[in-house]
């Protein structure tokens, strides 16, 4: 991690160079100093100086007359920053609706500070785009996922278990001593896991004992134990009514 402002500047500059080389050397061929100088609009002397530095740092393989090539480490870093850049362009274009002419410069500024987690979240929000707005391919990520579906499945934030259907009633709306079969739970995965651990699994019989007044929690009986469940959670645990308890529920009663 860069510490001082000058360190930061340097590491951004390094990333920019790697990105340029990555872009120019499509099939892994060597890139000429003059090409870089032209693209980046920097004097050839300065470019050479920088390439020598990158060579020392192990990011590129550079010799004066043959041009420059990314090493494995350099390639990995360049790929990652290019990916961030192109994802950001997509984001600025698709979601913020920025003009095309502004995309590149803005993305260049932002890419250096985008963390890997933010990159992943961005990719998820954009629904795993393959290309950036000018149709350049977005390189694949370095996360240990075998597929985008896996990445999506591993979001670990909110989700649902069970099947949703029309006949479901949140336990909050059950009357005292009414019983149902747990059919659908949604919410924070952490909370869902906790509910499952406590025995509120799909298909389990659950009985509402009572609801605390003043919008308080609900007390349920599940697998022989009693639990108090906060209202916000209880609104997201749905049951299907079983047998004779299919009488009117509170919500149906109020609907009439």
């Amino acid at each position: 991690m860069p510490h001082s402002p000058s360190d930061k500047k340097l590491s951004e500059n390094i990333e920019e160079y790697l990105e340029t080389i990555y872009r120019l050397s499509n099939n892994g061929e060597r890139v000429k100093t003059t090409e870089i100088s032209k693209t980046r609009n920097i004097a050839p002397g300065s470019v050479t100086q920088m390439l020598q530095k990158l060579n020392k740092m192990g990011y590129v393989d550079y010799s004066q007359y043959k041009g420059v090539k990314l090493t494995d480490t350099g390639f990995k870093k360049a790929k990652s920053i290019t990916r961030k850049h192109r994802l950001l362009e997509r984001f600025l274009h698709d979601i913020l609706k920025l003009k095309n002419s502004l995309l590149h410069e803005q993305a260049c500024e932002m890419e250096h500070s985008l963390s890997d987690d933010a990159e992943r979240a961005l990719c998820q929000v954009l629904e795993y785009p393959d290309t950036c707005p000018d149709d350049s391919p977005i390189p694949a990520c370095d996360f240990p996922f075998t597929s985008c579906e896996e990445c999506m499945a591993r979001k670990e934030e909110v989700g649902e278990v069970g099947k949703r259907n029309e006949n479901l009633i949140p336990i909050m709306d059950l009357k005292d001593h009414q019983e149902g079969k747990v059919s659908f739970i949604r919410g924070d995965y952490k909370i869902i896991r906790r509910l499952l651990d406590m025995g509120i699994t799909i298909g389990a019989k659950i009985r509402v004992m009572k609801v605390a007044p003043l919008k308080g929690p609900v007390e349920v009986s599940i697998r022989g134990s009693k639990l108090a469940i906060g209202r916000d959670i209880a609104c997201n645990v749905f049951v299907e009514l079983t047998g004779d308890s299919k009488a009117t529920t509170k919500s149906q009663a109020t609907a009439k």
């Binding site: 896996e150 069970g162 651990d197 025995g199 799909i202 605390a212 007044p213 209202r231």
Partner: protein, 660 residues
């Protein structure tokens, strides 16, 4: 424990001692919250460990020692948990303890009345492949509910020794330890139960794959495989650092399970575990008849939509009343016994005597007459209502009210504690799930009128103005506490985590357990508070004796005199009040004698009492805040207290003047 871990390093590669005949055995107690684990621990070791009735109480691991038929046994009480996931720190601590410390045997304490839910955890323990004995506790309470458990059948189903106990009466404990020692000697690992074919096959494939990678894990392979399939974040990153291939393979297999069941894999595995537990229960448990136990009748009363509030108020009010009546009585007795202590006038006696006598010794005397008489009855009664299950009901009733200040019902328990003494109250905010909640609760607690503040209010207002004004101050204080809680909620953003709390049966609390608990709590309070009291009390006397405080008090005059309408000396009094709240009264008595009436107007009494109540928390409170939350949060809390005291005091002055 340190000796033991050294001893363990010299064991064979699989973490097991090579010789079978060992005199030193470690037993870990594991199980759900409120199954009587801590009672067993106390019965076995006679130690003074804290036990309680609300979920997740035993945050730290308690250790004790037992001599049993020539064996030296270390007993470790693990926190009460419901699963080996990562929902709380307790769960992580417990599974790491079992994996890394490798106890010789785990006693899994199980609530006989809630067998199914408890077996869910038992199965996970078996998956950790640690030698174990299942202890079916509270069989008496289960019987009252019409539940009888056939231990032989249960033993057959689990293939693990099962012992029925009533720990509170010591029944079955001898046999339990006998079994544990035997299992530890044989180092007999349990054989994990099998899941349904779709899951079981994949667990096996993954286990074999993990074994083939030779990752040298502390955890049992099968357990790791299951955790990976459940997508346990901590285990996944642990394995990821060793082998990405395993994580990838686990993902493929988990996806297959998800494809078959159309559910997240963790939900499939939890459901399967429960269906196995259900099958075992059906085979081993006989529900003779469903009885409405006395507990349920009591429950109806305590959570009735109107009467529930009455009982809650009675519990809280009764606890406070009991504390003050009993506390006052003992405080009087101790006060008489220590009546030889009278503060000396530093002008006459000189600085050294006043520092040692007024300061250090005065701190000790105040601690003895204040903390001990009030805190002991408070803790004793609290532990009785806690262990009986009453407090859980109060938390249930008060949940919606507590939500208004961003906390859930459980937070009421530390807040009630705050009425006795802020220090243990802030200490016990550890029962809450997130740091944010703990901070919010601690902040509210710093406004709670503790015993010392009560003394100031009684000593200044009840004596010199009227009892009704004293009660009014109490009400204002509670209002301020609530308002500041709301303000804090706005300042500290975040979501209030929902309440998921077990409501266990009422039970008759054991006096001996309550006494041990009270002693242990009082002891830790003494260790924390007395040194701070004595040292800071001496330090402030030194500052006073060397004339440092008077200029400060004079500098505070714009606030104390102009804004709060108090005499200049109030500044001095309030500075002393930071050390100990009741010093406010003590210093006034030192300066003006035992009758304060000629020196203050009624309004001044009220304002002074109000400001002292809300003012910067005492040093002991600040110490515990620092320990729990660091200096940044502590500074903020202290400043907020200070500002509130000044603002409320000034407003009170202006509102009160027309009345007098």
């Amino acid at each position: 424990m340190d000796n033991r871990s050294e001893q363990k390093t010299s064991t064979s590669s699989n973490g097991r001692p090579e010789n079978n005949k060992r005199d030193n055995i470690t037993i870990a107690l594991a199980g759900n919250a409120n199954v009587g684990k801590s009672v067993i621990f106390n019965e076995l070791t006679g130690s003074n460990q804290i036990i309680g009735n609300w979920p997740g109480k035993t945050v730290e691991l308690a250790e004790g020692h037992l001599h049993f038929e020539g064996h030296e046994i270390d007993v470790v009480d693990l926190p009460g948990i419901y699963s080996f996931s990562t929902y709380s720190m307790e769960e992580v601590v417990s599974r790491e303890f079992i994996a890394f410390k490798k106890p010789d045997v785990v006693i899994n304490v199980v609530d006989a009345a809630v067998l199914e839910r408890n077996l869910f955890f038992t199965m996970q323990l078996m998956e950790m492949e640690v030698p174990m004995v299942v202890c079916i506790n509270q069989v008496d309470i289960a019987q009252q509910k019409g539940i009888v458990i056939d231990t032989e059948k249960l033993e057959k189903a689990l293939k693990v020794p099962v012992v029925a106990t009533v720990a509170i009466r010591g029944e079955g404990l001898h046999e339990l330890v006998e079994q544990a020692v035997e299992i530890a000697g044989k180092y007999q690992k349990p054989k994990p139960l099998e899941y349904g074919a779709e899951v079981e096959n994949r667990i096996r494939i993954l286990s074999d794959y993990i074994d083939s990678k030779k990752l040298e894990l502390e955890y049992a392979t099968r357990w790791v495989a299951i955790k990976l399939l459940e997508n346990d974040p901590e285990i996944r990153s642990l394995i990821q650092s060793k082998s990405e291939d395993v994580v990838r393979r686990a993902y493929q297999l988990a996806t297959e399970i998800e494809d078959i069941h159309q559910e997240p894999s963790f939900a499939v595995i939890a459901a399967e575990r429960y269906s196995i537990a259900n099958l075992i229960v059906q085979g081993a448990q006989i529900q003779t008849k469903i009885k409405t136990s006395f507990s349920e009748k009591l429950d109806r009363l305590f959570t009735h939509h109107i009467l529930g509030y009455v009982t809650s108020a009675l519990v809280v009010g009764g606890l406070l009343l009991w504390t003050f009546v009993v506390g006052d009585f003992f405080s009087g007795l101790l006060g008489d016994a220590l009546s030889f202590f009278q503060p000396v006038d530093p002008q006459i006696s000189g600085p050294i005597v006043s520092i040692l006598w007024n300061g250090a010794f005065g701190g000790l005397v105040a601690g003895l007459t204040l903390i001990i008489p009030f805190v002991i009855p408070f803790y004793l009664m609290l532990s009785l209502i806690e262990n009986s299950g009453v407090l859980t009901r109060v938390a249930f009733m008060m949940d919606s009210l507590m939500h208004k200040i961003g906390l859930h019902g459980k937070a009421l328990i530390p807040m009630i504690l705050g009425y006795g003494c802020n220090v243990p109250a802030i200490d016990s905010t550890r029962i809450l799930e997130t740091r944010r909640e703990r901070l919010l609760a601690a902040f509210a607690i710093t406004f709670a009128p503790c015993a010392a503040r009560t003394i100031v209010v009684l000593g200044l207002v009840a004596v010199y103005v009227s009892v009704w004004w004293a009660i009014a101050l109490y009400a204002i204080d509670i209002l301020v506490m609530f308002i500041m809680g709301r303000v804090a909620l706005k300042v500290v953003p975040g979501e209030t985590p929902g309440l998921i709390m077990e409501i266990h049966s009422f039970k008759l609390p054991s006096i001996s357990v309550a006494l041990k608990q009270t002693w242990s709590r009082t002891k830790s309070l003494i260790y924390l508070v007395f040194p701070v009291y004595i040292i800071s009390s001496a330090a402030i006397q030194a500052l006073y004796a060397f004339g440092v405080l008077t200029p400060i008090a004079n500098a505070l005059a714009p606030i104390t005199v102009v804004w709060l309408g108090l005499p200049v000396v109030a500044g001095l009094v309030l500075i002393f009040g930071v050390v100990r709240k009741e010093f406010v009264l003590l210093i006034l008595v030192t300066l003006f004698g035992t009758n304060l009436a000629p020196f203050f107007t009624p309004v001044q009494f009220i304002v002074l009492a109000l400001v002292s109540m809300l003012f910067i928390p005492c040093v002991a409170t600040v110490t515990v805040l620092l320990r729990e939350f660091g200096w940044k949060s502590t500074t903020t809390i202290v400043l907020a207290n200070f500002a509130t005291a000044i603002v409320v005091g000034g407003i009170a002055l202006r509102l009160l003047l027309p009345f007098f």
